[in-house]
Amino acid sequence: MAARSLAQTAAGDTIGPVTIAVARETLVAYANASGDQNPIHQDEDFAKSVGLPDVIAHGMWTLGAAGSVVEEWAGDGGRVVEFGTRFTKPVVVPQGGGEVEVSGVVKSVDEDTRRATVELTATSEGAKVLGRCIAVVQLD
């Protein structure tokens, strides 16, 4: 992949939407890769015992998955120089798995720094799961 260039990028450009499947196994893999073994992300009985509707995804899995969509658009993951969000709602992952839909729009392009500011939207079952999710991408 080649990094996205300034010439290829303009305010108003859109990304996605991309639908990402999330299975219980996805969360086990994330728990092992991240070290976050909180049982609310793996154990349905435990999650329900603390008042959750079911197993929920790690917020950082959701942000990471959105990050993968930005990387694909940027053409090089190392070009995502800033990335952040507020976690507004959990992604519920029932036994049969769940889904997250991620889309984005270029809010602005700074020609001097060659950086694009991208606002991402992530929803699951119609609810917004990330708020003010912003990535800054260093363009070529």
């Binding site: 890769a33 603390v50 917020g59 990050g67 993968s68 694909e72 993951g77 976690f87």
Partner: protein, 148 residues
């Protein structure tokens, strides 16, 4: 027990070093569904100008959370981890974390505040190499839900 507001402004000595290797980065990239070969192929990473495979944009949280533990698990801080929810997270990358890096993390508790019966704590972790090269500033807000 309430969160101890006296911790606001407190800085900790650097923790680590945390060794970053290629297998760790590949496992993390796979878990978040990244297809970008800069995380898994040294050849692709070097073609993109990196020394070796690099971390996905949110990988830094795995190190930052290990650094945070010294504060979050301190009984004096008064944080009931069973009531903690991740509220916000932000990364500013200075250069991509790369396989072979030996990372140090310096934790600062930026703010401790109460709102609507909940406590909100914002921490900042500056990740650098052992040689002092800036890698990432990771800022995290956790919400400690109030007791009923």
């Amino acid at each position: 027990m309430a969160v101890n507001a006296d911790f606001a402004g407190r800085s900790y000595p650097p923790s680590g070093p945390y060794a970053v290797d290629a297998a760790m980065l590949a496992a993390f990239a796979s878990a978040v569904g990244s297809q970008d070969p800069v995380h898994t192929s040294t050849e692709a990473a070097q073609a993109a100008g990196y020394r070796d495979v690099i971390a996905p944009p949110t990988f830094a949280v795995t190190i930052a959370q290990q650094c945070d533990a010294v504060f979050v698990q301190d009984p004096e801080a008064g944080i009931d981890y069973s009531r903690v929810v991740h509220g916000e997270q932000r990364f500013v990358h200075h250069r991509p974390i790369t396989a072979g890096d030996s990372v140090l993390g310096t934790l600062t508790v930026d703010t401790v505040r109460e709102a609507g019966g909940h406590a909100m704590v914002t921490t900042r972790t500056e990740l650098t190499t052992e040689e002092g090269e800036a890698l990432c500033t990771s800022t995290s807000t956790i919400v400690i839900r109030g007791g009923e």
